[in-house]
Amino acid sequence: MSVAAAAFGVVYGLAARGAGFSLVDAMAMSLIVFAGASQFAAVGFVAQGMPWIAIVGFTFLLNARHVLYSAALAPWLQRKPRPERAAIAHVLTDESFALSLAHFGRIGRADVPGYWVAAAFIWLPWQAATVAGWLGGQLMPDPTALGLDVVFPAAMGALAVAVITGRRELAAAIGGAIVGVAAALLTSTSIGIIAGGLIGPAIGLAIPRRGSDATTPDDAPSLDGHDESIGVAP
């Protein structure tokens, strides 16, 4: 995922330069917004001369899915200091959420250092690649020619499997995927993802619980937070 983040960061940097962004502008987006899809969209919108209010509004809609990530991680991190949670929130992305949730679930407790490792493996390549792309992105081959465009969906699908521990999670995942695609086809991809993330859990909850299912109201994660590195793969 770091390689994919770097590859698309380079493309972002290159696209930003093509749209008239200075290096400071491109880096400000990567440092302050740190959300790839909305950054790419902003580059296109700025190039088209779209009003800022529309760009900001679209950014809000595109990034609203982070509410779901934050809400899902909140029970794990509730006893961490507020400033630490505030910092954690800034680097909360699709990838850091997916990696950390799978990791927390695997070890059965929150692991803040592990979260920071996951976030750093996305944040650092993205920032460095933004600079590299702005300075010399035209030298890089198309990421799709290297198959890097499939890294993100493959990793998200694989991490969904990693957090499935029972029938309810399975139903939530299948329901989320079906609802997400249907809603995306009817509206837009960002709304589809939010719809899948909101309705999928309701489908999961409709499945009767079995004794072996891990998702029970009283199996709340322990919150000790010892050091342990991210290790989705054994």
Binding site: N63, A72, A86, G157, T189
Partner: protein, 110 residues
């Protein structure tokens, strides 16, 4: 444009950060009803599966309209999911998915 868009970046950050932070910083999440906590535990699998499915199955068609697309990328993601379910190895699953796509594209299949 030398730094002209920094303000835009700040505005975009200002509407993005609350989505990331408000649930994490909201007090009393541990006092939520058990049913709500059970719902939140299911958000992860649901949203990750939705991200994967939408990313690989929905493309931008003519006029910017979303359009269903089933291609070698779909097969690659399914293979990655199967490998992770079988071997619990994320890196292996993603590497084989990428290899499949590169092979299909280089041979003209996709």
């Amino acid at each position: 444009m030398n730094g002209d868009l920094v303000l835009l970046a700040i505005l975009m950050g200002a509407v993005t950060y609350p989505s990331r932070a408000v649930p994490l910083l909201a007090p009393g999440i541990e006092r939520l009803p058990p049913a709500v906590l059970a719902y939140l535990r299911l958000v992860g699998p649901a949203v990750l599966a939705a991200l994967a499915a939408v990313n690989v199955l929905v493309i931008e068609g003519p006029g910017g309209r979303p359009q269903l697309h089933v291609g070698v990328e779909t097969l690659a993601v399914l293979v990655a999911v199967a490998i992770v379910a079988w071997r619990r190895n994320l890196l292996l699953g993603v590497a084989i998915a990428v290899g499949l796509v590169v092979l299909a594209r280089s041979t003209g299949i996709a």
